[in-house]
């Protein structure tokens, strides 16, 4: 269970998260939607403790990670796997060292076992025979898959996805969606994804929450969100140019 309680965070005087509350149940697949730059990634980084809130608490299985020291936080982080927007593979390491990073760093696992585990992880995301390539030699979609393989290597209990389908073509995007669903059911993980891609959101979510002006303004099943009457949510999910979100913003000069 992940509980986000009254979390606020500002950058340079701008409030990204404003007294935000959200609970995510174990085993649930939650998608947080919202416009680009609305603070979705910031929220995700609070959940894994990469950012500390100005005020408020983030509880993972009842333990407040905002008050933990480095050592405790490291232990909690091993419960997580995170797929970054640009995959964030380590350029200087090959795919084997990237995917096997956690095992190489934190365990004394023999090299042969690491290679076996890395191959299993790569197979799970539909890749093979790339262990000794460098990240720069791979396409965007492949890098995301490798990022996913790295995140699932240590069998996390919670998976975080930051814009999983951004920057890849629609077909690759859909296969990443399928992968997320497969991992969710096969590994039985709690999934939290942030995205502005509604096709992806409807496909992978048990529950959709919308972040707007630093707060969760809507929260429900994909069907409830689809049929909502809330004008803000409606404008976002239909992608309309005019509505309450863009009120006062003049796009005319762009045309």
């Amino acid at each position: 269970m992940i509980e986000i309680i009254n979390v606020s965070k500002s950058f340079d005087g701008h409030k990204e998260l404003d007294n935000l509350n959200l609970n995510i149940k174990t085993g649930e697949s939650t998608v947080i939607i919202g416009r680009s730059g609305c603070g979705k990634s910031v929220l995700l980084k609070h959940i894994i403790g990469l950012l500390k809130p100005d005020s408020g608490h983030v509880l993972i299985d009842g333990k407040d990670i905002t008050r933990m020291d480095e050592k405790e936080l490291s232990a909690v982080r091993l419960k997580f796997g995170m797929l970054f927007q640009g995959a964030a593979l380590f350029d200087s390491l090959n795919i084997l060292e990237n995917v096997g990073f956690a095992l190489i760093e934190h365990t004394n696992t023999p090299r042969a076992d690491i290679i076996k585990r890395v191959k299993e992880s790569l197979t799970l995301v539909g890749l093979k025979d790339i262990e000794y390539k460098k990240p720069a030699e791979l396409s965007g979609g492949m890098r995301k898959r490798v990022g996913l393989a790295r995140a699932i290597l240590v069998r996390p209990e919670i998976m975080l996805y930051d814009e999983p389908t951004t920057g890849v073509d629609p077909i690759m995007g859909d296969s990443i969606n399928d992968l997320i669903i497969k991992l969710h059911t096969k590994l039985n993980v709690t999934s939290i994804a942030v995205t502005h891609d509604m096709i992806s959101a409807y496909k992978i979510a048990d529950r959709v929450a919308m972040l707007y002006n630093g707060k969760i303004v809507a929260d429900g099943t994909p069907d409830e969100i689809k049929n909502t009457k809330d004008p803000i949510v409606r404008q976002f999910i239909t992608g309309a140019g005019t509505g309450p979100i863009t009120e006062g913003i003049d796009f005319e000069h762009l045309v």
Binding site: K45, I48, L50, E70, S74, A75, R77, L78, F80, G81, M82, F84, Q85, G86, A88, L89, F90, D91, F101, A102, E105, H106, R150
Partner: protein
């Protein structure tokens, strides 16, 4: 107008204090993580090779020419009073006490400091540093400590090397151009040099290594705004290192002067 000026000065002062604080915290964290296992020998040796071995050609070239220029420039005056034999001591002392440590530090700050900032900065803006943390790995331990140790070991060694090559430059001019005999040149060199000259130079070089590492890594770790941000951080890293090296050199020279 006056208010704007006060605001600007205040802002710059706050930035300065924030920078100093941030860099000091990074230094503290680095020192904290150094004794913690695992010892990343492979990474440290890689960095040592990059910093030390790969810098040898440029350090050789610059030290040799500096030694030669020092000898030639001083000969210009010394010849007037027929005191050319003192050139040996002058070159040796200038290299060992001052130019060896400072020139080596400036070369490494430009060559290695810039590359560290660019590398760490790119890792920061592409979220690789965040990724390290999500994999329960401390970025200071993983990225800064190996570079810190490599710099602190290699810069004094490079400095010693620069001292010798600079002396050789002076020797070439002294013996082959100014007709000082080999024996006389060597004698005058050893006569002028004291152990203190060498170790004060080396102490300085260790501090320069700390400055280069902390400034380069700190600039990289606070880089933001894509490629442009990394470029800005890299420039700032080199400029800040240069200023701090020269300023601390002045400070240490004064300190050693009054202490001994």
């Amino acid at each position: 107008m006056l208010r704007d000026l006060a605001k600007l000065i205040g802002k710059r002062f706050v930035e300065f204090v924030r920078y100093g604080g941030g860099a000091s915290i990074l230094l503290g964290e680095t020192l904290f993580w150094i004794p913690m296992p695992p010892m990343r020998r492979k990474q440290i040796f890689e960095q040592m090779s990059k910093i030390g071995v790969d810098s040898l050609p440029i350090v050789s070239l610059i030290s040799l020419f500096t030694g030669m220029v020092l000898a030639l420039q001083s000969a210009y005056q010394m010849q007037k009073i027929s005191a050319e034999i003192y050139i040996a001591g002058l070159v040796a002392l200038s290299m060992v006490r001052e130019l060896g440590p400072v020139l080596t530090a400036l070369i490494v700050a430009g060559r290695i400091g810039a590359s560290i900032t660019a590398e760490v900065g790119t890792m920061k803006v592409t979220e690789q540093i965040d990724a390290l943390e999500t994999l329960a790995t401390n970025p200071v331990k993983y990225l800064v400590v190996p570079r810190f140790l490599a710099l602190v070991i290699m810069i004094p060694l490079l400095t010693l090397y620069a001292d010798v090559i600079g002396g050789l430059g002076g020797y070439l001019i002294g013996v082959h151009k100014l007709n000082i005999t080999h024996a006389m040149y060597m004698k005058m060199t050893w006569k002028a040099l004291k152990y203190k000259d060498v170790y004060t130079g080396l102490i300085k070089s260790v501090f320069f290594a700390v400055i280069i590492c902390i400034v380069a890594c700190y600039e990289g770790m606070r880089a933001e705004g894509g490629a442009e941000g990394v470029g800005r951080a890299t420039t700032s890293s080199v400029v800040t290192s240069f200023i701090l090296i020269i300023a601390s050199d002045c400070f240490f020279t004064a300190l050693f002067y009054f202490l001994t």
